[in-house]
């Protein structure tokens, strides 16, 4: 007897429709799984047998062949346990073939017959070849995010009873509740640092990558952590994309909801290349840069990251995608994130204040080399964050709250969208003259900088995009004013100025 059950596999973060074919025939008792299963997939034999037996079903002493089609797709993980088990029950006549109807099955089996969730439910449900999808109860909320008809069950016995019509179907997952959002830290907590606060606002408004250089305790991390709170909510498409990445990384949890707020990821500086850009030995897992898709990737103590890991960011930064290649598979993960780097100016950390640095020139030079030129070049904003005097903090009141700043940011972003880009940092080079024309004073100012050799053509483009953002924030329409260009140049000082003299 042959049974065919629909299911789906996860390839990177993409779902792929899969047909699970179960053939039971006479012959020496055997149980084989074919069709590029990985180790966890092959172990399905033992789990399915135990789950069937402990759920009170007989194990057919026949020759069982399970084929996962198409054979060209690598199958990873335990998500085929459930379709294999149901396929066996259909093939042995325990369950009628037609009672499944137009429904795919995804789920892992426990030895006691309970159903468990697997990573990547959102993408798999999205790509399942049927109208309805049946998933373990624990994954119900996550599956519902894909917008399909979802049925759930908590155990094999319950599922079979429902299929046979002996018991009603378990209640479908409750309609998607708006996720409970954790409170984001507020910008008004940052006292002083007017310039840093402003730079963070500009970064949020224009989607400009931001590098902050400063001594320990200056508030770099504090500022960076407040950046996601200034960004507008994700659009439906963005939210779905980001949610799929998180689902594939098994990070959504049981109370899954659509990721509506830009995520903040801040990996520790011991991170490996694979953990940052994606990869892995058995299951290819999206890296931190993809988890930060449509959000903020904060690299605190950036100079302490392995150089290879940092240089691995260069391509994703340009393209918004990362293609992870291994000998046997290739995966493509989305990675459009706002990069925020925080670093000390030198090993001792006090290089910004003249006369305070305790480093010798050689160790300072070595430290400077940790951030490669091409990487530094990708930061539109490079801001020195000197330490604030306590005395200054006393007099200064709390600045604008995140909500106030976020309104200005949202306004600037709306203007960018009218130009056809998500944010000003992504204005294509060819469109600069059209969307960010320069006033004659501004052009003169830039020419002077170029002539002095303190600006290169690539820097020029970045400065013009930042100037566009500044004009948007200041609601200056028409050609870019000289003041905005000067401020944009001030936000991207020469590298040697940034490193600090003496």
């Amino acid at each position: 007897m042959l049974a065919i059950i629909h299911s789906a596999a996860l390839d990177g973060i993409e779902g792929k429709p899969i047909r699970v074919e179960v053939h039971v025939s006479s012959g020496l008792p055997a149980f084989n799984v074919v069709g590029q299963p990985d180790a966890a997939c092959r172990e399905a034999r033992d789990r399915v047998r135990a789950a069937l037996l402990s759920s009170g079903f007989a194990w057919p002493l026949q020759r069982i062949t399970v084929n996962l089609a198409p054979g060209s797709v690598r199958k990873v993980g335990a998500g085929f346990d459930l379709p294999i088990a149901i396929g066996l029950l259909v093939a042995t006549g325990v369950v009628a073939a037609d009672c499944l109807g137009d429904c795919s099955l995804i789920g892992e089996l426990g030895l006691d017959g309970s159903l468990r969730g697997v990573p990547g439910i959102v993408s798999m449900v999205d790509r399942a070849p049927t109208r309805a999808v049946l998933v373990p109860e624990a994954a119900g909320a996550e599956a519902a995010l894909a917008g399909r008809r979802v049925r759930t069950a908590s155990s094999l016995r319950q599922l079979v009873a429902a299929l046979r019509g002996e018991e009603p179907w378990p209640a479908p997952p409750p309609p998607l509740a708006e996720g409970h959002l954790p409170a984001e830290p507020d910008l008004s907590d940052v006292r002083g640092q007017l310039y840093g606060r402003w730079a963070v606002e500009v970064a949020a408004a224009g989607g400009h990558h931001l590098l902050m250089v400063g001594p320990p305790g200056a508030g770099k991390t504090m500022l960076a952590e407040r950046l996601p709170g200034l960004l507008p909510d994700l659009s439906d498409q963005e939210a779905m994309d980001t949610t799929r990445v998180w689902s594939a990384a098994a990070m959504l949890g049981e109370q899954a909801s659509l990721i509506r707020r830009p995520p903040l990821r801040s990996p520790h500086h011991s991170a490996s290349v694979a953990s940052l850009v994606g990869g892995g030995a058995y299951r290819i897992r999206p890296g931190e840069i993809s988890l930060a898709h449509n959000g903020v990737l904060l690299l605190d103590e950036m100079a302490e990251f392995p150089r290879a890991a940092l240089d691995g960011l260069r391509q994703p930064l340009e393209e918004g995608w990362v293609t992870v290649c291994r000998a046997r598979w290739v995966s493509r993960f989305p990675s459009r994130f706002l990069l925020v780097g925080a670093t000390n100016p030198c090993p001792c950390g006090y290089g910004l204040s003249p006369g305070c640095c305790r480093c010798n020139p050689a160790s300072k030079a070595r430290y400077a080399q940790r951030l490669s030129g091409p990487l530094l070049d990708r930061f539109d904003l490079r801001v020195a964050i000197p330490k604030t005097d306590v005395a200054d903090l006393m007099g200064i009141g709390a600045g604008d709250s995140s909500a106030v700043v976020a309104r200005r940011v949202a306004k600037a972003r709306r203007m960018a969208r009218k130009r056809g880009v998500a944010c000003n940092a992504r204005i294509p080079v060819g469109a600069l003259d059209e969307v960010a024309p320069l006033s004659s004073e501004a052009a003169l100012h830039l020419t002077r900088r170029l002539d002095a050799g303190r600006l290169n053509p690539r820097g020029l483009r970045r400065v013009r995009r930042v100037a566009r953002t500044l004009a948007d924030l200041g609601e200056h329409f028409g050609p870019i004013r000289e003041a905005d260009v000067a401020a944009a140049l001030g936000l991207r000082p020469d590298e040697d100025v940034l490193r600090g003299a003496a």
Partner: protein
């Protein structure tokens, strides 16, 4: 072993050859030459060649052997020829031409290499040695430059140590003025260290005087700077510590100067600055402060102390803006931190609007070559200049003081930068002394 010393070479040649021996410290070179005991370099050369050296604890057999081989394979005349080709003269203690200032020094250099005008270290010339840290602040650099310039303008010989930071600032300030400039290097005079000072070395060799105890080709060892400092102290009438950390190398020069009974002065610095901690500690210990060139001149006995007017301030800051109207209230303004950094310029302008001094007025194109001309600056820029301290003033402090929008602030600072009135640092701006 019968090795004949080459005959007919001048004594300077032997001295230059001995000074070029590897791992030879100045103190041992002096002992080897034994000038005070009536020794001459050619005899010392011969003693090294025969390995007939007085046994000493620090003198290993290996080293005696290395030196013996070196001396045997070399002709002292080649050493002298090399110095001549580099434009260096060789000064040997006990021979004519050796500077009188060092002749009676407690630890005089036995051999000195020099390039430039030796009359600059004449005993009759008042000489000030400016020392300080390599890791100086903007304030220190400014003070060193101004002191160097003013002392030089008044005919005082300015001596410094060829290092980066204070040394370089003092020398570049003093070059091209009335007085001679002398640099004492810790490396051979053909080994430019630090490489960033190449231009300064060139100018000093041409317009001033370069001195070194090290033979050509020898680089700096950690101890070289300490030896160099004693030579500087020996040349000094007055030693001025411009800026020094609490355990800075400049304090070695101070110790050497005290040992020689020279006057030591220190430039007072901000008590919050680590770079001035050493200089301030000297003042606390009773060392006279060097507030400006006048103080140093008084210490040199060139002018009478009574010439200083009470309350007179150090003349390093640029002249105060003349046409200032409007502008910002005093800095003590506190509490009223601008709500939003992008906007507060507006309310500020409204409250101050009646002055009419805050709207940026167009200035003529900036003067080329960084010549400052306050008359060409707009009122806004002049008022902004007033808010920039001579010590680093952070960007956010400037934003809070002026209440200007970042764009206007950047524009104003850029104009001041073009005019050469302020300098940019990482996250701060500082006023450059005029």
């Amino acid at each position: 072993m019968s090795v004949q010393a080459p005959i007919g070479a001048p004594e300077e040649a032997y001295a230059a050859g001995l000074a070029a021996l590897p791992e030879l410290v100045p103190a041992y070179l002096s002992r080897l030459l034994d000038i005070d005991g009536g020794g001459v370099p050619s005899e010392a050369w011969h003693r090294v060649m025969t390995g007939n050296l007085e046994p000493r604890r620090e003198l290993s057999a290996d080293r005696v052997e290395t030196w013996r081989r070196a001396v045997q394979s070399q002709d002292p005349r080649e050493h002298l020829a090399r110095c001549r080709s580099l434009g260096l003269s060789v000064l040997v203690r006990g021979l004519p031409g050796y500077p009188a200032r060092l002749a009676h020094d407690p630890a005089p250099p036995a051999v000195l290499f020099a390039r430039g005008d030796l009359s600059f270290i004449d005993q009759s010339r008042p000489t000030a040695v400016l020392v300080g840290t390599r890791r100086c602040s903007g304030y220190g650099r400014q003070m060193a430059q101004v002191l160097g310039r003013h002392l030089s303008e008044r005919g005082v010989v300015v001596v410094s140590g060829m290092a980066a930071g204070i040394d370089a600032a003092a020398q570049s300030g003093a070059l091209g003025r009335e007085g001679p400039v002398v640099g004492v290097a810790a490396t051979g005079l053909d080994v430019v260290y630090p490489a960033s000072s190449a231009k300064l070395w060139e100018r000093l060799g041409a317009e001033g005087l370069l001195l070194s105890e090290k033979a050509p080709g020898h680089g700096a060892l950690p101890k070289s700077f300490v030896y160099r400092n004693r030579v500087m102290a020996g040349l000094a009438d007055v030693v001025v510590v411009v800026e020094s950390h609490i355990q800075g190398g400049a304090l070695v020069t101070v110790d050497e100067a005290v040992r020689r009974g020279r006057t030591v002065m220190a430039v007072p610095g901000p008590v919050t600055s680590a770079a001035s901690a050493g200089a301030n500690a000297l003042i606390a210990d009773g060392c006279p402060p060097a507030r400006d060139a006048l103080d140093v001149q008084v210490a040199l006995g060139l002018v009478r102390a009574s010439r200083r007017r009470a309350g007179e301030l150090v003349d390093v800051a640029p002249p105060p803006p003349r046409r200032r109207q409007g502008g910002w209230p005093s800095r003590s303004r506190s509490g009223a931190g601008p709500g939003h950094p992008g906007r507060p310029g507006q309310d500020q302008r409204q409250s101050q609007g009646s002055d009419g001094g805050l709207e940026p007025t167009r200035r003529p194109p900036p003067a080329q070559g960084g010549e400052k001309d306050l008359a060409e600056l707009s009122d806004l820029e002049l008022a902004l200049l007033d808010q920039v301290d001579a010590t680093p003033t952070r960007m956010d402090v400037l934003m809070a003081r002026t209440g200007l929008a970042p764009g206007e602030l950047a524009l104003g600072l850029d104009a001041l930068d073009q005019a050469g009135l302020v300098e940019a640092g990482p996250g701060w701006w500082a006023r450059i002394a005029g």
